[in-house]
Symmetry: C2
Subunit: 339 residues, 2 copies
């Protein structure tokens, strides 16, 4: 079967492409390289032993997308292509709405026209906002996210649900918690552009001396050590969940499927615990300073991921320390490339 992977050279995308290839899917990547680099394609080939087809263009270019669908018999899509920086989305909301919604709708129009089913959407735990209860299961009421980024995810979910219902298609909405880590080969990982927005890339760059100090935004949250708690999920575990979710759609005998899964470990870790785990795993020091809370940050979010375990036979298997060890190896790889 042939799967279109948009944003397939991105962080989660590239890891998922490797897992798809391992499971004998044909993969076609469309990625405009706005948040990745071409060497990732070479590295996918090194890791998986196969080179996926790759088209470098922006999915807003409908006519190019149509050509890809004309040229290949596509059986499904995993749609990673999206802008994803929360802070940037507040400064450039239109670009987020345009990029994230137009690309989604353009693909779905092709699905509709060609009677293709099997669509997997990268959603996020941001759709829950600061949930009233922890852990968060899939029935936790959604709240309007604070950021335009988060709103594009919630809107994407609504568009897909309406699409699946109207046209009898199979979709899976995967709500990621906080992806971390890199491929065990150290050939794939997150490519931070500019100053990292997320904790683990910042920790990593601080350990390597690129950043002077990690800023911890608030240690007066109502948690055990006062720092905010998240659910850090290892990227390879996350990638494997996509293959399972896709296989479930493909093998389902229902015409219309709307699956929703939380993808997390089920365990919350505080910022200080992550810093500590990074130091332990890699025997390095991460200097940090405590700063004021950052507007819009929530106190705590971690998953109840039982549904994915029950229905997909998937669960997170990699420890926080192990994930953070791969991050450090990837950082060393990136530095060796630059020298």
């Amino acid at each position: 079967m042939t799967i279109l992977v948009t944003g397939g050279l991105g962080y989660i995308g590239s890891h998922t492409v490797v897992e798809l290839l391992k499971n004998n899917f044909q993969v076609i990547i469309v990625d405009d390289l706005s948040n990745s680099e071409k060497f990732i394609l070479d590295n996918i080939e090194k890791v998986a032993g196969k080179r996926p087809v790759f088209f470098p263009f922006d999915l807003k270019r409908k006519e190019l997308l149509t050509q890809v669908f004309d040229a290949y018999e596509i059986d499904g899509c995993i749609n990673f292509a999206a802008y994803k920086a929360v802070g940037e989305s507040q400064e450039k909301p239109l670009d987020y709405y345009e990029n994230n919604l137009f690309s989604l709708i353009n693909i779905l129009q092709e699905f509709k026209a060609r009677n293709i089913s099997n669509f997997i959407f990268s959603s996020s735990c941001t759709v829950y906002g600061q949930a009233d209860q922890q852990p968060i299961d899939e029935n936790t009421p959604l709240k309007t996210p604070e950021s335009s980024y988060g709103k594009t995810k919630q809107m994407g979910e609504e568009i897909l649900k309406d699409f699946a219902t109207a046209h009898q298609r199979k979709i899976s909405l995967l709500r990621y918690f906080n992806p971390i880590g890199a491929h065990p080969t150290a050939l794939l990982g997150e490519l931070p552009i500019g100053i990292p927005n997320n904790l683990v890339p910042y920790v990593t760059q601080t350990a390597s001396g690129i950043r002077e100090k990690l800023s911890i935004w608030g240690n007066d949250y109502p948690t055990e050590d006062g720092t905010a708690i998240r659910d850090y999920i290892y990227v390879v575990d996350l990638a494997k969940a996509h293959v399972k979710a896709l296989q479930k759609l493909i093998f389902s005998e229902e015409e219309t499927v709307i699956d929703i899964y939380n993808l997390g470990t089920g365990k919350g870790s505080s910022v200080l615990e992550v810093v500590q785990a990074f130091e332990n795993a890699n025997q390095v020091e991460v200097p940090y300073q405590i700063c004021e809370r950052r507007a819009g940050d929530i106190t705590i979010a971690y998953a109840n991921a039982d549904k994915a375990e029950k229905e997909l036979g998937w669960k997170a298997e990699t420890s926080l320390e192990e994930a953070l060890r791969t991050t450090w190896e990837w950082q060393k790889y990136l530095e060796s490339r630059n020298n």
Copy 2:
């Protein structure tokens, strides 16, 4: 000042263009005629004594839109262009998301690039869903609408709020209740395409013999006569509110303005009351039959429109019977055109 009116040959659009021209605004209409006809432009000229500039194209054609913004110094926009049939939106959700969101975002990108403020958005009381209390004021919590049409309105509001906040612009979100009636000259009104979705066009076509019988969807609602209650607002009153909302934005000394107004009469009328009022106003008979409730229909929705009165100096002035009289005159005009 020059105002771009998208969908300016549509039902509410054409009435608003007339009021803008009366108030000495220059008007540029972009309308793809997907839900209107060219003679409406001639009739606008007959009514207002001026002919607005008109471009017939689809707002998804970004390059044409850019040309319009290049050619004219545009000071603001009233954006009526949107698909609006609730039922159809359930069958073709992608077309609704694509048409309603792409056109909005394309215009806003021009606003952003050229530093234009003053944007008025056609929203709808559908964003409230079945509200927990009546009448509905602007602080009533929103609910996710059932229809894709309604969701495009809610998403449009979110996009505009984020846009105004990020780029310091002035926007006004006008939540229409149920627009009815036609221009007193009988030269402008709603052009029903196919079987009407809304009550008043259906009543009108039944009175004129085009439809055999009006179907009343449910007479077992918890209301006085058992039929559903809505707030019917006369289209010319509604059009005038747009001019007031626009003037408020233009004269506001704030950099960022996010106005939200309910536009309704403040009075609910049941389906049977509307039928009765139509018969009284026009001395015609409207045969009807009672049918099962229609899925998705809510029991009751009427506006608290005090905010628009207080802040815009606007309120509905035309009675239900008077509005229904204009509808009937318009119907007779349409029939005379066809003969």
